[in-house]
Symmetry: C2
Subunit: 274 residues, 2 copies
């Protein structure tokens, strides 16, 4: 019966432990109680958590599942010891040690990716990208579009904004977004601000049914939200993207993570090193 308590324990934020642990646990049915214990970086804190784990095991009669990302050996030893009543998923233990053998050097036991990140260039670029994407949300500004890595285009409420922010936050991509609106369809032309940047445009589309549903949550009963209008706008936007050879995909059944991954794969912004 996989309805267990799961601990995510890390000397950093625990984001890696949790992301990875959740994708492992998604392979099994059942609801689980999640307990996060970030910033466990001393022997004392580790002993406290060990106490929590053992109390849970005693109360529930089954061993909790414990995902750890711990770089310090003294902290890790406490949780991986036989006194800790759990099913231990030691992510560094399983993978760092084989790499030490292959590389022929010892690991530097640095804590996770997000530690003291505030000082790194990569981190500052991510923050700058978030600011850029916010300033260029929904066609707010056509200024400085040449600095964009990618410009998402599509009808209102097709998913451009969350995808842009995700690209900025996760990948440090300067993602602008620009709506295609009925005036553009009447003129039969892309918004003029986009014309010089067609190569970095990427389109999002969406099923008219779903679009109508989303728009109705915002403006119930409006013409804007009506199915007929949504069908018209989506068809016009797709025609326009086809005419201008702008790649696009449908957001209807895709998460922002999947859309962002596809955009990165297809556009390969110049400034990405991989």
């Amino acid at each position: 019966m996989p309805n267990r308590t799961v601990f995510f324990i890390s000397d950093g934020t625990g984001i890696t432990a949790e992301t990875f642990g959740n994708s492992i646990l998604a392979q099994f049915p059942g609801k689980r109680r999640h307990i996060r214990r970030p910033f466990i970086d001393t022997v004392e804190k580790a002993l406290t958590v060990q106490g929590e784990i053992n109390a849970t095991a005693a109360a529930e009669g089954v061993k909790p599942v414990v995902f750890i990302t711990l770089a310090r050996d003294d902290v890790r030893d406490i949780l991986t010891s036989a006194e800790c009543q759990c099913l231990m998923m030691d992510m560094f233990g399983a993978f760092v040690e084989p790499l030490e053998v292959e590389f022929g050097i010892k690991s530097n036991h640095r804590v996770g990716r997000f530690s003291d990140a505030a000082k790194s260039q990569e981190y500052n670029e991510r923050i700058e990208a978030i600011n850029f994407s916010l300033a260029h949300d929904d066609g707010q500004s056509a200024r400085n579009l040449e600095a964009a890595d990618v410009i998402l285009v599509g009808v209102s409420r097709c998913g451009k904004t969350p995808t842009s922010l995700y690209l900025a936050m996760q990948h440090g991509i300067k993602a602008a977004n620009y709506p295609l609106i009925p005036e553009d369809f009447e003129r039969g032309q892309l918004p003029s601000a986009l014309a010089p940047h067609k190569k970095k445009c990427f389109g999002l589309t969406i099923d008219p049914d779903r679009l109508s549903q989303i728009r109705n949550e915002r403006r119930p009963g409006s013409k804007y939200a009506a199915f007929e209008n949504c069908r018209y706008e989506v068809a016009e936007a797709e025609t326009m993207m086809k005419r201008h050879q702008i790649d696009w995909l449908s957001s209807t059944h895709k998460s922002i993570e999947e859309i962002a991954t596809t955009i990165l794969r297809d556009i390969r912004p110049d400034r990405l090193t991989y």
Copy 2:
């Protein structure tokens, strides 16, 4: 010599493989070339990637490191076979199998966390939280603040906006943010919109030096950016938070991930189940 090519291969977005792989590789010095191969969900695609891996091994004279998250056995078998010249980091293999034994059931071999997420309630809540955080960025709207899970407060440019968006995007938290401005300090009072919601306020502060530097990038030479003014605003903001018993932390040396993790740990928004 750890300057290797690293592949991240997944039948989904590869985000889990990449996040986890990077935190493992951060334990070792050296620069690496990263190659992402998302959406590898057929035998044919797996054979193509195997060809790339072997070509890389032949060209570089050392085995590439390969992180995989692959749920399908037939796809995984190709990459974990002896014909694939790599150092294989099989994340599901290492952890799913012990869980199958412990739980006494077979895993359901679902692909990653982000697949077909567009339909899930959790996903829709995240998107709703992003929209909420955008609508309540920088005190734009005091409407509906009672729906916020957390309200970040602090002086202009101390990190409220990216932290709010991160909380929304990663954790589905409705995070509003509200600036503390000179007028508030002159009146000696919290903005009136915040008064009924003090319990869910969380403060951010920042070293005046760093704040002055950030503000100077935006408005060089302004009074707004002057060190003396930054010192005044930060001191006043901290006094105000202390008086109203609002917990706070400094963003100066912390990433948005670390700030968000601390907020979640301390505020424990009611609607979180863990």
